[in-house]
Symmetry: C2
């Protein structure tokens, strides 16, 4: 071996599959160049970040010796019980019912480092190399990287103004089944509200159809739906829509991923997943290997924001802030581009 040739590092196949996430580059560009207004990285509008609220929450927490010591101690792998209970209450509100209507327990809530860790854990728990995931075209590019990173095959399903075309998905499932590969199909990934990058919401009718379709094709092995609802609470007009998860009467088909990054603060970085009962153990086992628990302090801060109602107030102010920006943007488009042909 020549002296100029570096010694091979013995990297794993997964290292080769991972490649650099474009999001890592985009975030670094946006965070390190404060005078750039990046529309690519998904930063939260800094003017809406809850500075006052976090000052109050931390001051309260660290003035209560017992709560403070608990926050600074280890938590558990699935996360703080208090926040998991609050997540149930939040979810009930978003679904337009009571916590009893949810028909799940707090044990089915898993707290993660943003929803990204949730998406990654699901991929790791379900996909062997060569397994198949259906996604909308176009969809969230970061999850496509995650799928590459576990060696999964991605099959793109076209979408229209109502989101993923469920009939096209049905046709593709038939093609895969005819090839004898149905047992390799593990997941259907959908950003249900404000799909990234198209901004489209999956229509209520399609949500129902999607759950039914996944059920039909799960005769011999479960095909899960991963519903990425990161932007769910940032609806600028009208109330919340029921999730795809809400249409899953069995509570066995849909994994619902949400996050407090977009609605509260990405620097606090708490996301969560709602899991079918049978997946909780396997996902927590993988999380036990990855970090055996996300920061307890951050979980308790968000739990208190939710418990005291200050979270909901904050989200309303975030919605107002973004609504103003959206309206200004549309007005400017009208003013400056309305006379363009086509």
């Amino acid at each position: 071996m020549s002296l100029t040739e570096p010694l091979p590092l013995g990297l794993s196949r997964r290292a080769a599959w991972a490649r650099e996430q474009a999001i890592s580059y985009l975030m670094a560009q946006a965070v390190e160049n404060r005078d750039v207004v990046s529309l690519a990285a998904g930063l939260v509008d800094e003017q809406t970040l809850p500075v006052e609220l976090c000052r109050a929450l931390t001051a309260e927490l660290f003035s209560d010796d017992q709560r403070a010591r608990a926050a600074l101690q280890y938590g558990t792998t699935p996360g703080a019980e208090s926040l998991r209970q609050e997540v149930l209450r939040l979810l009930a509100r978003l679904e337009g019912g009571t916590t009893e209507d949810l028909r799940i327990s707090a044990e089915q809530v898993v707290l993660t480092a943003g929803s990204q860790q949730l998406l990654s854990l699901v991929a790791d728990t379900l996909f062997d190399p060569g397994d198949i995931c259906f996604v909308s075209a176009p969809t969230y590019f970061v999850f496509l990287g995650v799928l590459n990173g576990v060696g999964a095959r991605t099959i793109a399903i076209p979408s229209d103004n109502d989101g993923m075309i469920v009939d096209a998905l049905a046709a593709e499932l038939q093609v895969v089944a005819d090839r004898g590969e149905l047992d390799r199909v593990k997941l259907i990934y959908v950003v249900s509200d404000f799909e990234n990058p198209s901004g489209i919401c999956l229509s209520a009718e399609r949500r129902k159809q999607l759950v039914a379709l996944a059920e039909i094709w799960s005769a011999r092995q479960r095909i899960h739906i991963l519903e990425d609802a990161a932007y769910r609470e940032l609806r600028y007009d009208g109330g919340p829509l029921p999730s795809i998860w809400g249409y899953d009467q069995s509570r066995e088909s849909v994994i619902l991923a949400q996050t407090f990054s977009k609605s509260f603060s990405p620097g606090v970085r708490v996301g969560f997943g709602i899991f079918p009962r049978g997946l909780v153990g396997p996902v927590c086992n993988r999380k036990g290997n990855e970090d055996f628990g996300s920061p307890h302090l951050n979980q308790l801060l968000i739990a208190e924001a939710l418990r005291s109602g200050r979270y909901e107030q904050h989200v309303e102010s975030v919605r107002q802030g973004y609504r103003r920006k959206r309206d200004a943007f549309l007005a400017a488009l009208d003013e400056h581009f309305a006379d363009l042909p086509g």
Copy 2:
């Protein structure tokens, strides 16, 4: 399929390999039963947790509007530049030299969710199923779970009062090479200070030998050493020892993993790794998939604790607290068990 038989979930091989980490159970037992004094889970003594310090740090941070907004915004995949610079200064202090003596840049520091995520990222970056890791017997059981979780083979090397017996490791390397499997050897894992569970430190002589041995057997592919120095700063008597990493003149062989969980707060949950230059990209690519960055807020809190010197003061008080407990424990053993035969 009968109605009583649950539908297969289509879990991955990695899900099957993960199993439940005993640490998840031990943490849950310790955290949820506040009247149990658990010596198993590795909780930090609650009386030493930095409640006052964190109250001051958060009050300062959230009173400075610009810093607060930065803390609540996304960070980057490898972590906050300010903390990575402070880590270099901390490391220089622990190694007994200047930051220039380290001969690395802040780009070789990667910030993680505790050192556990670091250990997990290294395993994911290096091991294909069937690859080999050498470990001391006995060693940190959680990392053995991580190795199982990626399908690695573990070969145990006996240890004595000076830690892993390097001659025994050399003999095992020869056995593996004779089997034609040297290219499957990716890593040697060592808890250098206060090995868990034995409490033994690897002697200075062995540290030097270990680096030399890894170099010798890296003729065609790098065999890395993963030095887990989680307890490094909790030395109750005498000053810090140079790390195994310190003996690696090439800065190409050793990955050094440390954490602020044991010395500061596990609820803040920040760990870090020092990487050979060539591994930084691959490890960050995997981290880009897992979470594209640990909580920025927590990183900035620790950075300020370090910058202002309050971290070092705190660690000294932690050492004093544990030293008192150690002395009381030894005195009680002397008093009550000294007359036992053997």
